[in-house]
Symmetry: C2
DNA sequence: ACCTGAACACCGTTCAAGT
DNA sequence: ACCTGAACACCGTTCAAGT
Protein backbone atom coordinates (compact mmCIF):
# COMPACT_ATOMS: atom_id res chain seq x y z
CA UNK A 1 0.00 0.00 0.00
CA UNK A 2 2.90 2.28 0.63
CA UNK A 3 4.36 1.38 -2.74
CA UNK A 4 2.33 2.79 -5.53
CA UNK A 5 1.82 1.26 -8.95
CA UNK A 6 -1.88 0.49 -8.86
CA UNK A 7 -2.21 -0.85 -12.40
CA UNK A 8 -0.06 0.07 -15.35
CA UNK A 9 3.25 1.23 -13.95
CA UNK A 10 4.92 -2.15 -14.17
CA UNK A 11 6.81 -1.54 -17.39
CA UNK A 12 10.54 -0.98 -17.34
CA UNK A 13 11.32 2.45 -16.01
CA UNK A 14 9.64 2.82 -12.63
CA UNK A 15 10.11 6.61 -12.72
CA UNK A 16 11.79 8.52 -15.47
CA UNK A 17 13.40 11.85 -14.88
CA UNK A 18 11.89 13.47 -17.92
CA UNK A 19 8.38 12.18 -17.47
CA UNK A 20 5.93 14.35 -19.26
CA UNK A 21 4.11 16.73 -16.98
CA UNK A 22 0.58 15.42 -16.40
CA UNK A 23 -2.29 16.63 -14.31
CA UNK A 24 -2.28 13.29 -12.54
CA UNK A 25 1.41 13.65 -11.75
CA UNK A 26 0.90 17.19 -10.53
CA UNK A 27 -1.99 16.15 -8.31
CA UNK A 28 0.06 13.31 -6.88
CA UNK A 29 2.89 15.66 -6.01
CA UNK A 30 0.42 18.12 -4.53
CA UNK A 31 -1.02 15.46 -2.26
CA UNK A 32 2.46 14.49 -1.14
CA UNK A 33 3.29 18.09 -0.30
CA UNK A 34 0.00 18.53 1.53
CA UNK A 35 0.45 15.34 3.52
CA UNK A 36 3.99 16.26 4.48
CA UNK A 37 3.74 19.93 5.29
CA UNK A 38 0.06 20.77 5.50
CA UNK A 39 -1.97 23.22 3.46
CA UNK A 40 0.60 25.97 3.71
CA UNK A 41 3.27 23.75 2.16
CA UNK A 42 1.48 23.66 -1.16
CA UNK A 43 2.73 26.58 -3.23
CA UNK A 44 3.25 26.63 -6.97
CA UNK A 45 6.90 27.33 -6.40
CA UNK A 46 7.40 24.35 -4.11
CA UNK A 47 5.34 22.18 -6.42
CA UNK A 48 7.40 23.25 -9.43
CA UNK A 49 10.61 22.52 -7.56
CA UNK A 50 9.29 19.12 -6.55
CA UNK A 51 8.54 18.35 -10.19
CA UNK A 52 11.76 19.90 -11.46
CA UNK A 53 10.03 22.45 -13.61
CA UNK A 54 9.01 26.09 -13.60
CA UNK A 55 6.03 27.47 -11.80
CA UNK A 56 4.39 28.61 -15.00
CA UNK A 57 4.50 25.16 -16.55
CA UNK A 58 1.89 23.94 -14.09
CA UNK A 59 -0.70 26.26 -15.55
CA UNK A 60 -0.63 24.27 -18.76
CA UNK A 61 -2.30 21.41 -16.91
CA UNK A 62 -4.11 23.04 -14.02
CA UNK A 63 -6.27 26.13 -14.29
CA UNK A 64 -5.49 27.48 -10.85
CA UNK A 65 -4.83 26.49 -7.26
CA UNK A 66 -8.49 25.91 -6.54
CA UNK A 67 -8.78 23.28 -9.21
CA UNK A 68 -5.61 21.64 -7.99
CA UNK A 69 -6.91 21.38 -4.44
CA UNK A 70 -10.28 20.13 -5.65
CA UNK A 71 -8.60 17.42 -7.68
CA UNK A 72 -6.48 16.36 -4.70
CA UNK A 73 -9.54 16.13 -2.47
CA UNK A 74 -11.49 14.19 -5.10
CA UNK A 75 -8.64 11.71 -5.40
CA UNK A 76 -8.71 11.00 -1.67
CA UNK A 77 -12.50 10.87 -1.54
CA UNK A 78 -12.66 8.24 -4.26
CA UNK A 79 -10.41 6.01 -2.18
CA UNK A 80 -12.54 6.50 0.90
CA UNK A 81 -15.81 5.78 -0.89
CA UNK A 82 -14.45 2.72 -2.65
CA UNK A 83 -13.21 1.28 0.63
CA UNK A 84 -16.68 1.38 2.18
CA UNK A 85 -19.01 -1.12 0.57
CA UNK A 86 -21.36 -2.79 2.95
CA UNK A 87 -24.63 -4.24 1.69
CA UNK A 88 -26.75 -2.82 4.49
CA UNK A 89 -27.43 0.87 3.83
CA UNK A 90 -27.16 1.94 7.45
CA UNK A 91 -23.93 0.05 7.91
CA UNK A 92 -22.62 1.52 4.69
CA UNK A 93 -23.38 5.04 5.86
CA UNK A 94 -21.48 4.33 9.06
CA UNK A 95 -18.53 3.03 7.06
CA UNK A 96 -18.45 6.01 4.74
CA UNK A 97 -18.70 8.57 7.52
CA UNK A 98 -16.06 6.79 9.57
CA UNK A 99 -13.80 6.62 6.54
CA UNK A 100 -14.16 10.32 5.84
CA UNK A 101 -13.53 11.08 9.50
CA UNK A 102 -10.33 9.04 9.46
CA UNK A 103 -9.19 10.67 6.23
CA UNK A 104 -9.79 14.13 7.66
CA UNK A 105 -7.95 13.45 10.89
CA UNK A 106 -5.07 11.88 8.99
CA UNK A 107 -4.83 14.80 6.57
CA UNK A 108 -6.00 18.09 8.06
CA UNK A 109 -5.76 19.83 4.67
CA UNK A 110 -8.64 17.68 3.47
CA UNK A 111 -11.01 19.14 6.01
CA UNK A 112 -10.08 22.65 4.97
CA UNK A 113 -10.61 21.87 1.32
CA UNK A 114 -13.96 20.11 1.72
CA UNK A 115 -15.26 23.05 3.65
CA UNK A 116 -13.75 25.72 1.42
CA UNK A 117 -15.47 24.66 -1.82
CA UNK A 118 -18.80 22.99 -1.16
CA UNK A 119 -19.66 22.18 -4.78
CA UNK A 120 -16.41 20.50 -5.64
CA UNK A 121 -16.44 16.90 -6.97
CA UNK A 122 -15.28 15.41 -3.67
CA UNK A 123 -18.35 16.75 -1.87
CA UNK A 124 -20.68 15.88 -4.73
CA UNK A 125 -19.44 12.30 -4.66
CA UNK A 126 -20.09 12.10 -0.96
CA UNK A 127 -23.52 13.64 -1.34
CA UNK A 128 -24.40 11.24 -4.12
CA UNK A 129 -23.31 8.27 -2.08
CA UNK A 130 -25.40 9.33 0.90
CA UNK A 131 -28.36 9.87 -1.38
CA UNK A 132 -28.10 6.38 -2.81
CA UNK A 133 -27.78 4.78 0.61
CA UNK A 134 -30.67 6.74 2.01
CA UNK A 135 -32.81 5.73 -0.94
CA UNK A 136 -31.91 2.10 -0.39
CA UNK A 137 -32.82 2.59 3.24
CA UNK A 138 -36.39 3.34 2.23
CA UNK A 139 -36.63 7.06 2.78
CA UNK A 140 -39.41 8.44 0.58
CA UNK A 141 -38.58 10.61 -2.40
CA UNK A 142 -39.00 14.11 -1.12
CA UNK A 143 -37.05 13.42 2.06
CA UNK A 144 -34.06 11.78 0.41
CA UNK A 145 -32.53 15.11 -0.39
CA UNK A 146 -33.00 16.34 3.17
CA UNK A 147 -31.50 13.20 4.65
CA UNK A 148 -28.45 13.20 2.40
CA UNK A 149 -27.94 16.90 3.06
CA UNK A 150 -28.04 16.39 6.80
CA UNK A 151 -25.34 13.74 6.57
CA UNK A 152 -23.15 15.87 4.32
CA UNK A 153 -23.56 18.88 6.57
CA UNK A 154 -22.58 16.89 9.60
CA UNK A 155 -19.45 15.63 7.90
CA UNK A 156 -18.57 19.13 6.71
CA UNK A 157 -19.16 20.50 10.17
CA UNK A 158 -16.80 17.98 11.64
CA UNK A 159 -14.33 18.69 8.84
CA UNK A 160 -14.26 22.31 9.86
CA UNK A 161 -13.08 21.31 13.31
CA UNK A 162 -9.92 19.83 11.87
CA UNK A 163 -8.97 22.35 9.27
CA UNK A 164 -7.49 25.18 11.22
CA UNK A 165 -4.07 23.69 11.70
CA UNK A 166 -2.10 26.52 13.16
CA UNK A 167 -4.74 29.11 12.63
CA UNK A 168 -6.11 28.81 16.16
CA UNK A 169 -4.40 31.90 17.47
CA UNK A 170 -6.61 32.75 20.38
CA UNK A 171 -7.12 29.18 21.58
CA UNK A 172 -3.65 27.71 21.61
CA UNK A 173 -4.46 25.29 24.36
CA UNK A 174 -6.01 22.38 22.57
CA UNK A 175 -7.83 20.71 25.41
CA UNK A 176 -7.84 21.73 29.03
CA UNK A 177 -8.01 25.37 29.94
CA UNK A 178 -9.05 26.59 26.55
CA UNK A 179 -12.26 27.91 27.99
CA UNK A 180 -10.40 30.20 30.34
CA UNK A 181 -8.18 31.56 27.60
CA UNK A 182 -11.03 32.15 25.20
CA UNK A 183 -13.17 34.22 27.50
CA UNK A 184 -10.93 37.20 26.90
CA UNK A 185 -11.64 38.01 23.25
CA UNK A 186 -15.37 38.22 23.81
CA UNK A 187 -16.67 41.28 22.10
CA UNK A 188 -20.34 41.48 22.92
CA UNK A 189 -21.74 43.92 25.41
CA UNK A 190 -22.50 41.29 27.98
CA UNK A 191 -19.60 39.63 29.67
CA UNK A 192 -21.50 36.33 29.63
CA UNK A 193 -19.31 33.27 30.03
CA UNK A 194 -19.91 29.79 28.77
CA UNK A 195 -22.00 28.15 31.50
CA UNK A 196 -22.67 24.94 29.61
CA UNK A 197 -19.10 24.46 28.45
CA UNK A 198 -17.79 25.12 31.93
CA UNK A 199 -20.21 22.63 33.41
CA UNK A 200 -19.28 19.82 31.04
CA UNK A 201 -15.60 20.72 30.93
CA UNK A 202 -14.79 17.32 32.35
CA UNK A 203 -16.39 15.64 29.34
CA UNK A 204 -14.65 18.08 27.02
CA UNK A 205 -11.28 17.08 28.33
CA UNK A 206 -11.91 13.36 28.39
CA UNK A 207 -14.05 12.87 25.31
CA UNK A 208 -12.91 10.95 22.29
CA UNK A 209 -13.40 12.84 19.03
CA UNK A 210 -14.06 9.76 17.00
CA UNK A 211 -16.64 8.40 19.41
CA UNK A 212 -18.37 11.74 19.58
CA UNK A 213 -18.47 11.92 15.80
CA UNK A 214 -20.15 8.54 15.69
CA UNK A 215 -22.68 9.64 18.28
CA UNK A 216 -23.64 12.53 16.03
CA UNK A 217 -24.10 10.19 13.10
CA UNK A 218 -26.38 8.01 15.21
CA UNK A 219 -28.52 11.00 16.11
CA UNK A 220 -28.98 11.80 12.44
CA UNK A 221 -29.63 8.17 11.54
CA UNK A 222 -32.35 8.07 14.15
CA UNK A 223 -33.91 11.16 12.69
CA UNK A 224 -33.69 9.69 9.20
CA UNK A 225 -35.33 6.49 10.35
CA UNK A 226 -38.22 8.57 11.60
CA UNK A 227 -38.58 10.10 8.13
CA UNK A 228 -39.01 6.65 6.79
CA UNK A 229 -41.57 5.86 9.44
CA UNK A 230 -43.85 8.74 8.62
CA UNK A 231 -45.98 6.60 6.32
CA UNK A 232 -45.88 3.36 8.27
CA UNK A 233 -45.84 4.59 11.82
CA UNK A 234 -44.76 1.36 13.40
CA UNK A 235 -41.49 1.24 11.49
CA UNK A 236 -39.83 3.52 13.97
CA UNK A 237 -39.29 0.71 16.45
CA UNK A 238 -37.39 -1.28 13.87
CA UNK A 239 -35.27 1.78 13.21
CA UNK A 240 -34.51 2.14 16.89
CA UNK A 241 -33.33 -1.41 17.00
CA UNK A 242 -30.91 -0.81 14.14
CA UNK A 243 -29.48 2.25 15.79
CA UNK A 244 -28.22 0.68 18.98
CA UNK B 1 4.54 70.95 27.08
CA UNK B 2 1.21 72.60 26.81
CA UNK B 3 -1.17 69.61 26.83
CA UNK B 4 0.24 66.51 28.38
CA UNK B 5 -3.03 65.47 29.97
CA UNK B 6 -3.53 61.97 28.65
CA UNK B 7 -7.25 61.62 29.01
CA UNK B 8 -9.23 64.60 30.18
CA UNK B 9 -9.97 66.32 26.88
CA UNK B 10 -13.13 64.59 25.64
CA UNK B 11 -16.02 66.42 27.16
CA UNK B 12 -19.33 65.79 25.49
CA UNK B 13 -18.66 65.64 21.77
CA UNK B 14 -20.88 62.86 20.32
CA UNK B 15 -18.42 61.94 17.56
CA UNK B 16 -15.18 63.72 16.89
CA UNK B 17 -13.20 63.39 13.70
CA UNK B 18 -10.07 62.42 15.59
CA UNK B 19 -11.69 59.70 17.63
CA UNK B 20 -9.11 57.54 19.28
CA UNK B 21 -8.52 54.26 17.51
CA UNK B 22 -10.30 51.51 19.41
CA UNK B 23 -10.67 47.82 18.85
CA UNK B 24 -14.43 48.28 18.84
CA UNK B 25 -14.15 50.98 16.19
CA UNK B 26 -11.83 48.83 14.09
CA UNK B 27 -14.17 45.87 14.32
CA UNK B 28 -17.10 48.02 13.33
CA UNK B 29 -15.27 49.26 10.26
CA UNK B 30 -14.20 45.71 9.43
CA UNK B 31 -17.80 44.51 9.52
CA UNK B 32 -18.83 47.37 7.26
CA UNK B 33 -16.11 46.49 4.75
CA UNK B 34 -17.05 42.81 4.88
CA UNK B 35 -20.73 43.50 4.43
CA UNK B 36 -20.09 45.80 1.52
CA UNK B 37 -17.43 43.99 -0.46
CA UNK B 38 -17.20 40.51 0.98
CA UNK B 39 -14.28 38.74 2.58
CA UNK B 40 -11.80 39.87 -0.03
CA UNK B 41 -12.59 43.51 0.63
CA UNK B 42 -11.16 43.34 4.13
CA UNK B 43 -7.48 44.22 3.89
CA UNK B 44 -5.45 46.12 6.40
CA UNK B 45 -4.74 48.75 3.78
CA UNK B 46 -8.43 49.30 3.00
CA UNK B 47 -9.27 49.22 6.70
CA UNK B 48 -6.60 51.78 7.47
CA UNK B 49 -7.85 54.03 4.67
CA UNK B 50 -11.39 53.71 5.97
CA UNK B 51 -10.23 54.77 9.41
CA UNK B 52 -7.92 57.48 8.07
CA UNK B 53 -4.82 55.99 9.59
CA UNK B 54 -1.85 53.86 8.66
CA UNK B 55 -1.93 50.11 8.30
CA UNK B 56 0.55 49.59 11.10
CA UNK B 57 -1.56 51.50 13.58
CA UNK B 58 -4.16 48.73 13.58
CA UNK B 59 -1.70 46.32 15.10
CA UNK B 60 -1.71 48.34 18.29
CA UNK B 61 -5.28 47.19 18.90
CA UNK B 62 -5.58 43.92 17.00
CA UNK B 63 -3.05 41.11 17.07
CA UNK B 64 -3.61 39.94 13.51
CA UNK B 65 -6.24 39.45 10.87
CA UNK B 66 -7.50 36.23 12.45
CA UNK B 67 -8.35 37.97 15.69
CA UNK B 68 -10.07 40.74 13.76
CA UNK B 69 -12.26 38.31 11.87
CA UNK B 70 -13.05 36.37 15.02
CA UNK B 71 -14.10 39.55 16.76
CA UNK B 72 -16.33 40.52 13.85
CA UNK B 73 -18.00 37.12 13.83
CA UNK B 74 -18.50 37.18 17.59
CA UNK B 75 -20.13 40.59 17.35
CA UNK B 76 -22.67 39.29 14.84
CA UNK B 77 -23.25 36.06 16.74
CA UNK B 78 -24.09 37.92 19.94
CA UNK B 79 -26.81 39.80 18.11
CA UNK B 80 -28.24 36.59 16.66
CA UNK B 81 -28.27 34.77 19.98
CA UNK B 82 -29.80 37.69 21.83
CA UNK B 83 -32.60 37.96 19.28
CA UNK B 84 -33.69 34.35 19.87
CA UNK B 85 -35.23 33.92 23.29
CA UNK B 86 -38.14 31.54 23.36
CA UNK B 87 -39.06 29.79 26.56
CA UNK B 88 -39.53 26.39 24.97
CA UNK B 89 -36.13 24.77 24.35
CA UNK B 90 -37.09 23.21 21.03
CA UNK B 91 -38.57 26.43 19.75
CA UNK B 92 -35.51 28.30 20.95
CA UNK B 93 -33.23 25.95 19.04
CA UNK B 94 -35.28 26.56 15.93
CA UNK B 95 -35.03 30.30 16.44
CA UNK B 96 -31.29 30.23 16.98
CA UNK B 97 -30.58 28.05 13.98
CA UNK B 98 -32.87 30.09 11.77
CA UNK B 99 -31.21 33.26 12.96
CA UNK B 100 -27.73 31.93 12.20
CA UNK B 101 -28.93 30.77 8.80
CA UNK B 102 -30.29 34.20 8.00
CA UNK B 103 -27.11 35.88 9.21
CA UNK B 104 -24.98 33.60 7.05
CA UNK B 105 -27.02 34.13 3.92
CA UNK B 106 -27.08 37.86 4.52
CA UNK B 107 -23.32 38.01 5.08
CA UNK B 108 -21.43 35.29 3.24
CA UNK B 109 -18.17 36.22 4.97
CA UNK B 110 -19.68 34.99 8.24
CA UNK B 111 -20.00 31.45 6.97
CA UNK B 112 -16.38 31.43 5.87
CA UNK B 113 -15.22 32.71 9.19
CA UNK B 114 -17.27 30.33 11.35
CA UNK B 115 -15.92 27.42 9.38
CA UNK B 116 -12.34 28.65 9.23
CA UNK B 117 -11.74 28.84 12.98
CA UNK B 118 -13.87 26.36 14.89
CA UNK B 119 -12.76 27.31 18.39
CA UNK B 120 -13.41 30.99 18.04
CA UNK B 121 -15.75 32.76 20.48
CA UNK B 122 -18.61 32.95 17.98
CA UNK B 123 -18.73 29.17 17.67
CA UNK B 124 -18.23 28.61 21.39
CA UNK B 125 -21.17 30.90 22.12
CA UNK B 126 -23.34 28.96 19.72
CA UNK B 127 -22.23 25.65 21.17
CA UNK B 128 -22.91 26.84 24.68
CA UNK B 129 -26.38 28.01 23.77
CA UNK B 130 -27.24 24.70 22.16
CA UNK B 131 -25.92 22.88 25.21
CA UNK B 132 -28.11 24.89 27.54
CA UNK B 133 -31.19 24.37 25.41
CA UNK B 134 -30.57 20.68 25.07
CA UNK B 135 -30.15 20.38 28.81
CA UNK B 136 -33.42 22.20 29.37
CA UNK B 137 -34.98 19.84 26.91
CA UNK B 138 -34.22 16.94 29.22
CA UNK B 139 -31.36 15.20 27.43
CA UNK B 140 -29.35 13.23 29.99
CA UNK B 141 -25.88 14.35 30.97
CA UNK B 142 -23.64 12.26 28.84
CA UNK B 143 -25.65 12.90 25.66
CA UNK B 144 -25.86 16.67 26.04
CA UNK B 145 -22.45 17.12 24.52
CA UNK B 146 -23.30 14.89 21.57
CA UNK B 147 -26.58 16.66 20.92
CA UNK B 148 -25.07 20.15 21.05
CA UNK B 149 -22.22 19.02 18.83
CA UNK B 150 -24.60 17.65 16.24
CA UNK B 151 -26.43 20.95 16.09
CA UNK B 152 -23.22 22.95 15.80
CA UNK B 153 -21.86 20.66 13.12
CA UNK B 154 -25.03 21.00 11.10
CA UNK B 155 -24.87 24.77 11.27
CA UNK B 156 -21.19 24.78 10.33
CA UNK B 157 -21.88 22.41 7.46
CA UNK B 158 -24.53 24.72 6.14
CA UNK B 159 -22.23 27.67 6.71
CA UNK B 160 -19.65 26.07 4.45
CA UNK B 161 -22.16 26.06 1.62
CA UNK B 162 -22.34 29.82 1.69
CA UNK B 163 -18.76 30.80 2.16
CA UNK B 164 -17.23 30.32 -1.24
CA UNK B 165 -18.45 33.51 -2.79
CA UNK B 166 -16.55 33.64 -6.04
CA UNK B 167 -14.33 30.68 -5.28
CA UNK B 168 -16.55 28.22 -7.14
CA UNK B 169 -14.41 28.06 -10.22
CA UNK B 170 -15.42 24.69 -11.58
CA UNK B 171 -19.12 25.05 -10.86
CA UNK B 172 -20.00 28.48 -12.08
CA UNK B 173 -23.57 27.52 -12.82
CA UNK B 174 -25.26 27.96 -9.49
CA UNK B 175 -28.37 25.87 -10.01
CA UNK B 176 -29.34 24.09 -13.17
CA UNK B 177 -26.74 22.27 -15.19
CA UNK B 178 -24.06 22.31 -12.52
CA UNK B 179 -24.05 18.54 -12.50
CA UNK B 180 -23.11 18.40 -16.15
CA UNK B 181 -20.32 20.88 -15.77
CA UNK B 182 -18.87 19.21 -12.71
CA UNK B 183 -18.56 15.73 -14.14
CA UNK B 184 -15.51 16.80 -16.08
CA UNK B 185 -12.97 17.39 -13.31
CA UNK B 186 -13.48 13.95 -11.83
CA UNK B 187 -10.11 12.50 -11.07
CA UNK B 188 -10.76 8.98 -9.87
CA UNK B 189 -10.09 5.96 -12.03
CA UNK B 190 -13.75 5.23 -12.51
CA UNK B 191 -15.73 7.64 -14.64
CA UNK B 192 -18.71 7.17 -12.34
CA UNK B 193 -21.28 9.89 -12.58
CA UNK B 194 -23.67 11.10 -9.92
CA UNK B 195 -26.69 8.84 -10.27
CA UNK B 196 -28.53 10.13 -7.24
CA UNK B 197 -27.95 13.79 -8.00
CA UNK B 198 -29.05 13.29 -11.58
CA UNK B 199 -32.18 11.53 -10.45
CA UNK B 200 -33.25 14.25 -8.04
CA UNK B 201 -32.04 17.11 -10.21
CA UNK B 202 -35.55 18.43 -10.38
CA UNK B 203 -35.62 18.84 -6.61
CA UNK B 204 -32.16 20.38 -6.70
CA UNK B 205 -33.30 23.07 -9.05
CA UNK B 206 -36.55 23.83 -7.30
CA UNK B 207 -35.65 23.42 -3.66
CA UNK B 208 -35.59 26.27 -1.19
CA UNK B 209 -32.36 26.49 0.78
CA UNK B 210 -34.02 27.82 3.88
CA UNK B 211 -36.68 25.15 3.93
CA UNK B 212 -34.11 22.43 3.39
CA UNK B 213 -32.01 23.78 6.23
CA UNK B 214 -35.02 23.58 8.52
CA UNK B 215 -35.70 20.01 7.42
CA UNK B 216 -32.17 19.09 8.49
CA UNK B 217 -32.70 20.68 11.88
CA UNK B 218 -35.89 18.68 12.32
CA UNK B 219 -34.03 15.45 11.56
CA UNK B 220 -31.53 16.24 14.28
CA UNK B 221 -34.20 17.32 16.72
CA UNK B 222 -35.96 14.02 16.19
CA UNK B 223 -32.74 12.18 16.89
CA UNK B 224 -32.17 14.26 19.99
CA UNK B 225 -35.67 13.57 21.22
CA UNK B 226 -34.88 9.87 20.95
CA UNK B 227 -31.85 10.42 23.19
CA UNK B 228 -34.17 11.84 25.78
CA UNK B 229 -36.66 9.06 25.28
CA UNK B 230 -34.21 6.35 26.16
CA UNK B 231 -35.19 6.54 29.79
CA UNK B 232 -38.84 7.51 29.50
CA UNK B 233 -39.94 5.82 26.33
CA UNK B 234 -43.27 7.57 25.95
CA UNK B 235 -41.75 11.04 25.68
CA UNK B 236 -41.07 10.61 21.99
CA UNK B 237 -44.64 11.23 21.01
CA UNK B 238 -44.61 14.60 22.69
CA UNK B 239 -41.44 15.41 20.81
CA UNK B 240 -43.03 14.42 17.51
CA UNK B 241 -45.92 16.70 18.22
CA UNK B 242 -43.56 19.62 18.74
CA UNK B 243 -41.74 18.88 15.53
CA UNK B 244 -44.60 19.42 13.13
C1' DA C 1 2.52 22.65 -27.90
C1' DC C 2 5.07 22.77 -23.98
C1' DC C 3 8.13 24.79 -20.93
C1' DT C 4 11.01 28.57 -18.54
C1' DG C 5 11.58 31.95 -14.97
C1' DA C 6 11.58 36.70 -14.28
C1' DA C 7 8.11 40.09 -13.38
C1' DC C 8 3.64 41.80 -11.81
C1' DA C 9 0.11 42.82 -8.51
C1' DC C 10 -1.17 41.98 -4.63
C1' DC C 11 -1.20 40.26 0.51
C1' DG C 12 -0.19 40.40 6.04
C1' DT C 13 3.09 42.02 8.92
C1' DT C 14 7.12 44.60 10.71
C1' DC C 15 9.75 48.52 12.31
C1' DA C 16 12.58 52.65 12.37
C1' DA C 17 11.08 57.07 12.68
C1' DG C 18 8.05 60.59 14.11
C1' DT C 19 4.40 63.00 17.55
C1' DA D 1 1.96 55.35 24.14
C1' DC D 2 0.31 55.86 19.81
C1' DC D 3 0.75 56.48 15.12
C1' DT D 4 3.00 56.66 10.29
C1' DG D 5 4.06 54.54 5.95
C1' DA D 6 7.72 52.62 3.53
C1' DA D 7 9.78 48.15 3.33
C1' DC D 8 9.95 43.12 3.81
C1' DA D 9 8.77 38.45 2.75
C1' DC D 10 5.88 36.13 0.80
C1' DC D 11 1.79 34.63 -2.39
C1' DG D 12 -0.87 33.23 -7.13
C1' DT D 13 -0.64 34.30 -11.69
C1' DT D 14 1.00 36.12 -16.16
C1' DC D 15 3.73 36.33 -20.31
C1' DA D 16 7.49 37.26 -23.50
C1' DA D 17 10.94 34.34 -24.69
C1' DG D 18 12.83 29.97 -25.63
C1' DT D 19 12.65 24.65 -27.28
Amino acid sequence: MCQDGPVSDVRQRPERRSDALTKARIVRSAIALLDTGGAEALTFRALAADLSTGAGALYHHVANKGELLAAAAAEVMVEVLDAAGSADPTASIREVTAGVFDAITARPWLGSQLVAAPWQPAVLQLFDRFGSEVTALGVPGTAQFDAASALVHHVLGVASQYDAGQRLDQADADRAGFIESSTTPLVGPDSGRYPFLVRIEQQLVEHDDRQQFRAGIEIILTGIAALRGDAADGARDAARGAVS
